[in-house]
Every structure is written in structure tokens, then in C-alpha cells.
Amino acid sequence: MDNNSEQKPSNFGIHRPKENPNKGGSLSEFLPQLENYSPTIPDAVTCYYMNSSGLNCADPRIVRLISIAAQKFISDVANDALQHCKTKSSANPNVNKNQKDKDGKNPKDKKFTLTVDDLAPALNENYGIKTTQMKYLT
């Protein structure tokens, strides 16, 4: 009996576990505040893709959400590519010639150039976008 009393009553999956507060606010609360979070991608661009897929872009909140999703995608890919670039340059200091380490400057002032070599693995690993070089006809 003691064991049974200690057991919590089964809720048949009705009550969900509490969400991690660091993970983000609820979407219904976030939606009205989207007005303050304007994305860099213009709404007209998102509308173009929605219209080309036969979807209506009348609701400005949905348009904005999709724009933000695309912006987040770009930022995530860029962050991954930066990690690749940093790893590569630390492994081989001669790869990125723009770096100013030789001059003895602050590492914060390093210059990074995004190339296909850094971008392709970032796209391939996390998003499944594979890039292959053109096969030349000989």
C-alpha cells in the first residue's frame, strides 16, 4: 500500500511536463509582439514564395513568422560555417590569409571570409543540403 500511495496517479498523458523556461515563450504570447521583432528579410520576398506555392499572404503575422524562420535559418548556417572556418584556421594558420595574427593584433580583430569550403559542410551536416562540384567533361 505504501508503495502505491507513493506512486503518482496516472494522468493518461493529459498533463504534459512543464516546459523549460529557457527554451522560449509560448507562441500565442509571442505572436502579438511580433510587431516589434521585424526581420531583415522583406515581407514582399516571403509573399513571393507564398504566392508561388498557392498560399494566401493576407495575415501579416504569419508572413512575419515565416520571414523570421528564414532569417534564423541564415543565422544558424552562418554560425555553423563560422565554427568550421575557425576550426580550419586554428588547425592550419596559413589557410586564411586575412588573419592578422602575424602582426600581433587582438584576436577579436581577425577577419573571416566565408567560402564554399566552409559553407558546404555546414549545410550538409545540419540541413541535408548537399553540394557537389560540377563534373567537367573531358
Binding site: Y37, S38, V45, A58, R61, A69, A70, L82, F112, T115
Partner: protein
């Protein structure tokens, strides 16, 4: 008098010159034609009335990009002060006036630290989701150009300074692929819910579609804006103010040194005027005196 007959054969030398001239003309025409083709193919050939201006209106991103560009310029000035003193002394008078323009504190867009449920939203057309017609209809070329600009701005935030043309093209294509995949996912969700004929999207449809595609909820957008845009903006603003303070210090030090040098030179000039006369000039002056 030399007769000229109609239809007579010209001399060989003339033919060669004419052929050369014709060849050159042909080359020029070919170059002009190719230039015109490029102009026709570009969007910029559109007349002003037909051009569409799209605004990339995130103030935080725009501010970060602007501040980083200025910060680079300031860093270059500081480096010049250390490496090339002579050049720095020459631009010093102009710098004194420009430094006054820089603000001591930079205002950044505020982040809401409170929980969302405590913030009362103002009822307006946006919050109620009132349908809005977007007047600007763009074509694929415009879309690509807008995406390229947005990508460059966002790359600047993530500490990239340059991008190769091929990488930019790949990035644009991948964003295009992302958009198309998301749209496909939305259409799939609508089909799955037996709403095939509907074209309006609600928030739950988007959430389902986004989760299917990216395997994460769209609630992460809030944290993305807070951590990656606004906090970054604050960091860049503080870095910028530090750099400006550093440059001001360098300018002050150099102008102080300048004053000291001027004082020394002035005193020496007043006591011994011949000190500044170069040897050659002095020789010429002596010769002139001898002649006189």
C-alpha cells in the same frame, strides 16, 4: 592630273588600312553590344518608375552593421597612429573635429526582460491579424537581390567580414530551398488535415510545418532575437564606445606631442634662424651674395 574612275580597284595599302579600320569598328561594336546585353539583363536597367524599393528594416541589424563598419575605420586609424606617425599627424587636425560627432553613448533597441504574459499588447491591425494587401509584387531577380542583401547583413553579425561570390550564390540558393521546403511542408500539413482547398494559414499549421521541417518549435524565435540580435547589438555598441574612447586618447596624446614639438621648434627658430636652412639653400644664398 590623276584620273579617278568609278569602280576602279584601290591600291593594296588602302585595302589593308580599310580592313584594319573595319576590324576595329567591328570589335568596338561587339563590345558595345555585349555591354548593352549585360545592361538589359540587369535589374538596374528598369526605368525609375518601375523600380521597387524594399526596406530591410530591422533597426538592430542595421545598427550592428553600421557600427562594425565604423569600428573597422577607427581601428585602422589607431593602427596608423602606431605604424605611420607622419600620416597620422597630417590627418590629425581633421580628426579632432570629427571625433566630436561620435556620441559618447549609443542607444540600442531595448529587449523585454519581463515574461511575455506580463506585457499587455496594444490592440492594432497587426496584433488582431487584420488582412493586409502587400502592394509590392516582386519577381525572382528582385527576390534574389533582396536575399543577398539580407544574407550579407546577417553574416556581418556573425563576425564574417567578407564572402566569396560563389558562397553568396550557394547561400542564396539554400535560402530559396528552405523557403520552398517550408511552403511544401505547409501544403502537406493542410492536405493531412483535409483542408486541401484552403489557402489561409493559421498559427498551428505553421507550427506543425516548421516542426516537421526543422524538428524544433517556433517558440525559439523569441530567444533567437534576444540572444543573437539584441544582446549582440549591445555588445557591439559597448565595443564601439571603447574604440572611440581609445581613439580619442590617441588623438589627445598626439596633439599634445604636436604642441610640444611646435613650441621647441618655435624657440629654436627664434634663437638661431640658420638652423632650418638646408645646406643647398644656404649655398645658393651665399653664391647670390657673392654675385651681388
Amino acid at each position: 592630273m590623276k584620273r579617278k574612275h568609278w569602280g576602279e580597284f584601290k591600291e593594296k595599302q588602302d585595302d589593308v588600312e580599310l580592313a584594319k579600320k573595319l576590324e576595329m569598328d567591328r570589335q568596338i561594336i561587339f563590345e558595345k553590344r555585349s555591354e548593352l546585353k549585360i545592361l538589359h539583363s540587369s535589374v538596374y536597367f528598369e526605368p525609375k518608375e518601375n523600380r521597387i524599393q524594399l526596406s530591410h528594416k530591422n533597426p538592430a541589424v542595421n545598427q550592428i552593421v553600421g557600427l562594425k563598419q565604423k569600428q573597422e575605420l577607427i581601428q585602422e586609424l589607431i593602427d596608423t597612429s602606431q605604424n605611420d606617425v607622419y600620416t597620422f599627424q597630417q590627418i590629425l587636425p581633421g580628426l579632432n573635429s570629427t571625433l566630436e560627432v561620435f556620441p559618447t553613448k549609443i542607444v540600442t533597441p531595448k529587449v523585454n526582460d519581463k515574461l511575455n504574459c506580463f506585457i499587455s499588447t496594444i490592440q492594432n491591425d497587426f496584433t488582431t491579424g487584420k488582412p493586409k494587401n502587400i502592394q509590392k509584387k516582386v519577381n525572382k531577380k528582385c527576390v534574389d537581390l533582396a536575399l543577398r542583401k539580407s544574407i550579407c547583413g546577417l553574416l556581418r553579425i556573425t563576425d564574417f567580414t567578407d564572402i566569396t561570390e560563389s558562397a553568396l550564390q550557394l547561400m542564396t540558393d539554400s535560402v530559396d530551398h528552405f523557403y520552398k521546403s517550408l511552403m511544401e511542408s505547409i501544403v502537406n500539413v493542410l492536405n493531412f488535415d483535409d483542408r486541401d482547398t484552403e489557402t489561409d494559414i493559421d498559427i498551428m499549421t505553421f507550427e506543425k510545418a516548421f516542426f516537421n521541417l526543422m524538428n524544433e518549435s517556433s517558440t525559439v524565435f523569441l530567444n533567437y532575437f534576444k540572444n543573437e540580435i539584441y544582446l549582440k547589438n549591445q555588445q557591439v555598441a559597448t565595443e564601439f564606445t571603447e574604440k572611440v574612447a581609445e581613439l580619442k586618447k590617441v588623438v589627445n596624446d598626439n596633439s599634445h606631442q604636436n604642441l610640444l614639438i611646435n613650441e621647441i621648434q618655435h624657440s629654436e627658430f627664434s634663437t638661431n634662424s640658420q638652423f632650418y636652412i638646408k645646406e643647398e639653400v644656404k649655398q645658393e644664398y651665399d653664391d647670390y651674395e657673392d654675385e651681388a
